[in-house]
């Protein structure tokens, strides 16, 4: 149906129809959630949790199911921003900040550049492997086991606590000083390794890349 609507060719029909679908599912859900909060069935933080969880799970589904790799990368962004919202709900605003900066900014940008430099420009649509049904079976078993086990456990009734910023930094740089140094070395080695790996002498380059 959407193919008949005249649109400029720059408009991506899948993104538009995906947005319409998400809106059509999300709007009634949002109205139901607001009504539940208004009648006092769930609290306001729980409503925010459900909205964030909706975004996270929908984005993750898009990331693993969409055939177009650029769309998959964009829905990964939605998931990571939703995860940052969950970190805020868990009272760790520093981790939420780092999540948005490192994942929403850096990692997704890097992945998109990787896609552009490999096959996104010629053929952005990929086919998945043949073990998809097997993977689905295994993963549903795994998720079922996880959820059964964690719902069977007795967690008491704990509440989330804010970790003070100063305490966090103090513990990070005093008791975890050695891991911090190791991570610094790891980042250094990773950057050097990536550069050495990608760099080729100009004589090695294939003909068509010039």
């Amino acid at each position: 149906m959407l193919k008949r609507i005249p649109l400029p060719s720059q408009f991506d029909r899948i993104i538009i129809s995906g947005g319409i679908t998400v809106g059509a599912i999300g709007l009634p859900l949002g109205i139901v959630l607001v009504a539940l909060v208004a009648f006092g069935v769930i609290s306001a933080p729980e409503m925010v949790f459900f909205v964030a969880a909706f975004i996270v799970i929908l984005g993750a589904l898009g990331c693993v199911l969409l055939p177009n790799i650029v769309h998959a990368a964009l829905s990964l962004t939605a998931t990571l921003i939703g995860v940052a919202a969950l970190y805020l709900l868990l009272m760790s605003e520093f981790l939420a900040l780092v999540q948005v900066l490192v994942y929403g900014g850096g990692v997704v940008l890097l992945l998109l550049f990787g896609l552009m430099m490999t096959n996104a420009q010629d053929d952005p649509v990929v086919t998945d492997g043949s073990q998809k049904p097997f993977a689905f079976l295994l993963v549903s078993l795994l998720i079922g086991t996880f959820i059964t086990l964690l719902l069977a456990g007795d967690w008491g009734n704990p509440t989330a606590h804010v970790v003070p910023f100063e305490l966090f930094g103090e513990r990070l740089f005093r008791e975890f000083a050695v891991p911090i140094i190791i991570v610094a070395v790891l980042l250094d080695v990773a950057i050097t390794g990536a550069l050495v790996n990608v760099h080729t002498a100009s004589s090695d380059l294939p003909e068509e890349s010039e």
Partner: protein, 102 residues
């Protein structure tokens, strides 16, 4: 207040979806993205345990920070490998790069 089970369930679902992506996708960059999903699920569990159950020591927060750092390093290095693979073979499909498979 939100019960801790909500966060643990969401972490389990996110981990499972990431595993599904790793098993079913064939493009190397899409497998990397699915690994990011798995790491995000694990980080949610870490932070939930840290801020609900381990409020004095909050080691989970610090571990989540390390997870984010290592994931960033891993993505940079793995993309370098994928670019190199694409330059040599004109493909980023992991099934076509099976020379070292036993």
């Amino acid at each position: 207040m939100i019960p801790i089970e909500y966060f643990l369930t969401l972490g389990a679902i996110l981990f499972g979806l990431g595993l599904f992506g790793v098993l079913s996708r064939r493009s190397a960059i899409l497998i990397l993205m699915a690994i990011e999903l798995m790491l995000a699920g694990v980080s949610i569990n870490f932070i939930a345990f840290a801020s609900y159950l381990d409020t004095d020591a909050f080691s989970g927060l610090i571990f989540a920070l390390f997870v984010i750092t290592v994931a960033a390093a891993e993505v940079g290095l793995a993309l370098g490998i994928v670019l190199r693979l694409f330059r040599e073979r004109r493909t980023s499909n992991v099934d076509e790069a099976s020379d070292m498979r036993w």
